[in-house]
Symmetry: C2
Subunit: 338 residues, 2 copies
């Protein structure tokens, strides 16, 4: 079978990781990546051998910068079966008419609204519903995290209610111009935050509300999760449920912070110190009368990356079984390296 | 009536504020403050006209530093009716035998355990129980915050359950040697944090659990509070309840962060930018079927200061009515300057 031909539109925080993850699979290939300016990220794309596509008016600038473009974004789309839109939130929607004109399947990220595709994706929650679809939205890092944790517990213990407090990293490590230096910012003041409703775009039957603050750190988000379930269980049962999920990592060994998780990712040789798994602290798992608590940490730059690969595989009908796709994706990118 | 004679043992973050707040009252006076080293804080105490007492072996060092000590700590205690222990957490307990030997009433701070006095104090929650007591503990900043909010709601709507996620400032503004620079630290990993049980040292009938993280900021803590109540109510009802409390400030006017609250405190001329009130964001108050949410911010350096003054007034039997003491304290320190 010919490999599925994938265009990555936008080569920033998510796009560069999606390109690498697609490249690592044996059933799909990267046709090219798009970049508007010949900056340091574009130069790395060039070094890695990706064909770079850009706006017609910027082709000359790439030529001058010594990283010649392979063509325009429209030309990249023409050669592809599916585009993963990794442009900044809100831009993806403006790109939709272009994708429709070319007649290409499309995946958007969580920065766009659910209505862009009328379908929101999380591999562990609803892979099968994505099979053969033309348009899909992979939910954001925080929503992906919550969907993974909630789906795992819901299958075994039936979730009744979820209440989450999110402590968000202010900016990504490479964002040098914004973010509070010494403040806790309510994000937003009005409750609930958008994360709860967003989880319901994947898991509509879950009663969930969320509240979020933004704090001066760059590495990961942390959620304090409080969940009511319908079945009796112990903390040990919950640990076993989480421990059996390939994209959940139980955290222990004296780790008490996001900084130590990232140090660990560096030590085990993860590319760009990416931690694709949702990180749940074992010791924090507490159960009292069907009420469950735990802390988890979310690597905002990478948690959605394997989800994008699975979404491609479902939409291109390369695999109809979600668990097989997840296993294949994990193995190819090295996620099994726990 | 003679003024109550108050010793302030420990002139750091809390002690210097308690000294100023006691000095501002007309029914009590500061006999002196203690300091072990002649540092910048001691020099300000000297400028402000406080008599400084120190350890016998350090009297000479103060003399040399140009801020002569008035005597030893024991001498300060001998001249006083009541000591407010503002030494670092854990030291207060070691001071207890000294206070017993002198036969002086004593107030400790929240860094000590409940058993040091077998009574924990919050002016709005249990002033009357403190009247005439010899030993009292004023609970910590976070516990004071929660007691104020919970007591107000409990009186009107009967609190059934409280679930709180605390996002704590890493260190106080003057602590230059510790605190994470780029991390979210679980504080602690094991749930619940000590704050929930500590609230029950003041309000034993409240079902409360808490989880805390520590983040790279110095200004204030933020709590995300989720509360179940027994009576039907609207967000407007809850705003009215909070709005009627003198030590709760409703926050609005586009303020979305702790930094803006502190800027506001500076602009209205608060000493040391102190925000004695618990700050609750009006717009965050949300009610769905007897389930209540809101965000509040806690100025960790100052929120317990008026509580210490009220504890003195109760223990010295200067006033038997809590609401009168609260009003008197507020007026004297300028808290009514909202």
């Amino acid at each position: 079978m010919a490999k599925a031909k994938i265009a990555v539109n936008g080569y920033g925080t998510i796009g560069k990781r999606v390109a690498d993850a697609v490249k690592a699979q044996d059933d799909m290939e990267v046709v090219g990546v798009s970049k508007t300016k010949p900056n340091y990220e574009a130069s790395v794309a060039h070094r890695l051998g990706y064909d770079i596509y850009t706006l017609a008016e910027n082709v000359e600038a790439f030529e001058k910068a010594g990283m010649p473009a392979a063509g325009t974004i429209e030309e990249m789309l023409e050669k592809s079966d599916l585009v993963v839109d990794c442009t900044p939130g809100g831009i993806g929607e403006k790109n939709k008419p272009m994708y429709e004109k070319v007649g290409i399947k499309a995946i958007w990220q969580g920065g766009e609204s659910h209505t862009i595709s009328d379908f929101s994706f999380n591999a562990e929650s609803n892979y099968e519903q994505a099979v053969g679809r033309d348009l899909t939205r992979v939910v954001s890092c925080n929503t992906t995290a919550l969907c993974r944790a909630i789906s795992a517990i819901d299958r075994e213990l039936e979730v009744n209610k979820v209440r989450v407090s999110l402590t968000r990293r202010a900016v990504d490590p490479n964002e040098i111009k914004k973010g509070p230096v010494d403040a806790i910012v309510l994000n937003p003041v009005k409750l609930p935050s958008h994360h709860g409703p967003d989880v319901r775009s994947v898991l509509p039957h879950i009663n969930i509300t969320t509240a979020a603050t933004k704090v001066p750190t760059t590495l990961m988000h942390v959620h304090t999760v409080n969940m009511d379930v319908n079945k009796d269980c112990t903390a040990e049962d919950v640990k076993n449920i989480f421990g059996s999920q390939s994209r959940i990592r139980l955290i222990g060994d004296g780790i008490t912070s996001t900084a130590e998780i990232i140090e660990y990712a560096r030590d085990i040789g993860r590319p760009r110190h990416d931690m694709w798994e949702l990180c749940i602290w074992s010791e924090s798992i507490t159960v009292t009368e069907k009420e469950l608590y735990f802390f988890h940490a979310v690597h905002q730059e990478s948690i959605v990356v394997p989800e994008n690969v699975d979404a491609i595989r479902a939409m291109m009908e390369l695999e109809s079984d979600g668990s097989k796709s997840i296993e294949k994706t994990n193995k190819a990118i090295g996620l099994s390296n726990k």
